[in-house]
Each structure stands twice: as C-alpha cells, then as structure tokens.
Symmetry: C2
Subunit: 315 residues, 2 copies
Amino acid sequence: MLAVRLSEGQVQVEQTRRPRRPKGHALIRVTLAGICNTDLELLRGYYGFAGRPGHEFVGVVEEADSPAWLGRRVVGEINLACGNCPTCAQGLGRHCPTRSVLGIVRHPGAFAEYLTLPEENLLPVPSALPDDEAVFCEPVAAACEIHEQLGKLQGQRVAVLGDGKLGLLIAQVLQVGGAQVHLFGRHPEKIAIAERLGVQPAATGLFDVTVDATGSAAGLSQAVSMTRPRGRVVMKSTVAERVQLDMAPVIVNEISLIGSRCGRFAPALRLLASRKIDVRSMIADRYPLSAAPQAFARAAERGCLKVLLEPLLEY
Amino acid sequence: MLAVRLSEGQVQVEQTRRPRRPKGHALIRVTLAGICNTDLELLRGYYGFAGRPGHEFVGVVEEADSPAWLGRRVVGEINLACGNCPTCAQGLGRHCPTRSVLGIVRHPGAFAEYLTLPEENLLPVPSALPDDEAVFCEPVAAACEIHEQLGKLQGQRVAVLGDGKLGLLIAQVLQVGGAQVHLFGRHPEKIAIAERLGVQPAATGLFDVTVDATGSAAGLSQAVSMTRPRGRVVMKSTVAERVQLDMAPVIVNEISLIGSRCGRFAPALRLLASRKIDVRSMIADRYPLSAAPQAFARAAERGCLKVLLEPLLEY
C-alpha cells in the first residue's frame, strides 16, 4: 500500500506492506485524512518523531474481530491505552502513561491506505454526516475538551487567540456552547467563518476565559494579560520551545493556566452531526496521498486552513 | 512614632508622625508584627517598592468610628478595596483593580507603632489566642486560600515543595484539612514541626496536587514533573524573575497551574483558634521595632523561620 513517512524533515511517499491487524484491532481502509499542525511539528522534529503520521481520518472497516464493524464507516480515538493502570481505571485512558498514539507515538498513522486501531477506539459515523465533515472529529474533540475540563461556559466572556484551524474550531464550539466568544486573529476571511455563528471580533476589556491557540510562545503572556482576576487561561498551543513567562500577574490575579489536549470523540461527533458548526468552510485544499509532499507544503503556508489527503483521489 | 522605611535596599528606622485616621478607618496600635518573605523582596525592589512595609500584625484599636471597636485586639485584612467595582461586587475585593495593600501598595504598613485600616477589614482576636499565634493570621490565610480555590482535598495525595515559612504553614493547613501531605525541603528540623501533625516526608510517585512554595524559579518545573495527568499545581512562590517553563508536559498531561495569593482572614483565625496547627514553633526570633535592620538581616538568613517585631520590646 501507499504510505507517508516523515524522516529528517522530509515528507516521503513509499510503497509498504499493509499493516497486520492485532487481535482486538480493526483494519481500516482510510477514505479521508486531515493534516494537523501537530503533523507539521512532527515534520520539524517535535517529539523526535520519525515514521508514519496522521491522526485525523475517516475510514471503512475491512477486518475486525466483531463482524458488526465490517463495512462500517468510522472515526477513531487516537490514544491506545493499556486499560489496566490506575489512570485508565479513572477513565483517563488518554493519559495512560504507557499509551501509544495514532500517528504520533509508536503507532503508524492515517496517512496511508490502511491503518489499524483497537475496536474499542472506533465510533460509527452517522450516515448523514459526509466524510468531509467527519474528518474534523479529532480537532473538534480537542475543542470540546475545553468543556470537559472547564464545565459549561454559558454567558461567560471568552477570548480565543489565534484564527488558525484549532482556534476557529474552538471559537465555534464555545460559542455554540453558550459562551460570548471573541476571536482574535489576523485573517478577516477566516474570522468570517466563525462570525457567521455569532462569534464576535477582537474587543478590549478582561475576559473570564482566554484560550491560547496562537501556536506561539508569545500567546500565553498575551492571554494572561487579557484575563480577569480568578479567570482561566486554556493552553491549546503545543509550542516546542520553552516559554518565558512572568508569573507575578498569574499569582497576584490568581489565574489558572490549564493545559488542554485531545478530547473524547463522542461529543464531537454529536456536535458535527448536529451541523451547528461549520467545518466545511475550513477546507482549504485536497490532495491524493501520492502528493503528500505538496499537501504538507500547502498546509504549512501562512494562513492555510485544513488540507485533506485522499488515498483514492486521482492526481 | 517609630516606623520602618525601606528605600534603595536599606532598612531605616525613623521618627515620623502618627498616621491620621480617615473616616471609616480605625487607628490601631501595633503590638506585634511579622516579617514575611514578601518584605524581603520589597527590600530588594520587588514592585519598585519604597516606603513602610509590614502586613502581618496584631494590634489594639485606639480610635474608630464605631465605639464597639475601641480597645479590641484585632488582626486585619490587608487589601483595601474600592467596594464599588464589578470585581468587588463579586466578593473579590482582594482583586479590586484600584485596591491598595497594607505595607505593599500605597498604604503604609505595620512595621510602625501605629497603622490605619478600614473598620470593615478588622477581625477581633479571640481572647484565648495569644498575639504570638494571632500574628500568623495573614500567612495562614494565604495557606487556607488553597482550600478556597481548589475545594476540599480530603484523601488527596499532596506534595508541598519548600519548607520555608509558607511551605510549613501550607503543609499543616492541608494536612489538617484531610489531605495526605508530603513536605519536600532541606531542613529536617523544620520539617519536624509539620511531621508532628502527620505530614509525611518527601516520597516518590505522582501527586494529585503539588504546591510550589520554594520561592525559586526552578520550583515550578519540578512541581509539574511531580504531578499526575489532570492534576493541579498551586503556585505560591512570588518570584521576581521571569520563569522559563517547558509547557509541553503541562499541555500533554492537561495539568492546571493555579496562581494563589492571599486569603480570607476569617477561616484562618478560626483555624488558629482551634489550635490544630503549630505556629508557635515557627517563631525564630523577636526584635524591638528600633532594631528592624537587624531583624530584617536575621529574617534573610538561610533557613530562618518567622522573625517578629515588637514595638514595645526593650532592646
């Protein structure tokens, strides 16, 4: 099968063996995959990564232990937890210390014609939800994670810093969840996507909650300066460099800085199926898997939104 | 009256006018005051401070609008809030943006024979609680603030980093509150004070909550590395320098970093009156007000616990 390999800063496309399905895993034919900023950072050597990336996908189950999965269109949770440790026992498999992670840590990713995942990680995609939207399930789950960690933000004044892919999704998810969201970014055409849902442009004053989705080391300091005493700053930027931060305002104003990563797929899939958020407008481009180097280059362009990889697309 | 003045890194004792009491304020004769690490940092120029420090005190009301206060032995909340802004309306006068702070921001402090404070800031000291213990109300309130922010920590595994004055109080307060506290420090004789209350020594493994009371920029990184996924790190160190921190583990493990400052006096006074914590063993030395330079030098010695200033003590 065709598969993408990242190594020493290069995107390669190679012919390789179809993965063998371990017991309990399903073999999934990938129909659509999305390039995430994390993939771009893996390419730059974040996590010392070399291997097959890709953790946003939709696919069809071709082999599984349970026949009920055969032929089902699915998305899949990306963390492969041990299931036996105290962290897993608390329902926090996403934090299992020995977990592997699809396309990120010790488990070959979705930028290939096939992948395997444990059947327990799979969720069937509702038939009314097209691949083009279901493929956003992972980043939408990352946005929904803010609700899981912070609870309802009904009526709260929220700033989202960064109008990249994740910032746009977060702004939409929190607005639909009842918050009064202001989106801070540099691209009016991107902010316009969220404004159609009632998200407001940048504004002054202090915020109850500020989400740093800038992807830059400077974003956190800015977020702290915009947050009211006892307010919360959600850190969604995975920045490889060390962050320099003046902690005095954090302590004096008793602000909480909350690290936030990936989330549960079920609420994200429900939200996508409700069609209350607009992910389709976020698709910037699509490439066949064989053109992965071009797709990565396109995704890395300043201001580019979601780039999709389609194994079956002709180039 | 005699009063202490910090200016350009020097501790001076000067004769000055007794403060005039504004309407709504009480005039309080200071009977005992404590030197806090913040005072040592003010001396080093933290906040660009020059003036009269001191925010830990016990005193007797000599003048007040309400005759009920006259002759009462009191402690007092250190934040002077406007009472009219949205922050004050939320009951967060300690975060009022235009507040002054006794001995820290635009309000002359307690290292003097007299101070003034709004009557609404005062709390009567129970007669059974001696000055030597009541003088700890402000730092005990800062420790109790962790309960106000994080809720009950019953049964949770808590690490307190730093066996200085604040670390020792935090370890005691959280242990008495039902947590399983481990105290990490370099001074066995200080840790012994907390161990008499059931606090345990340093241990391995991850903690539900880690409190950084090291007063050092390195403490925060260490605290993050000791905290379980989705755990909480309480930042109690006011470090003047900027902190360099690798945010990747904070985000990947979804840890919350919670700034924490001073707290409400009422629960602290109740806890002191209950005699469940041991503050008396934390008194390292006492000096008359006239010997404030020596008292500051003593307080700045490595490993020194609480140094008290007594206006009426003969030298």
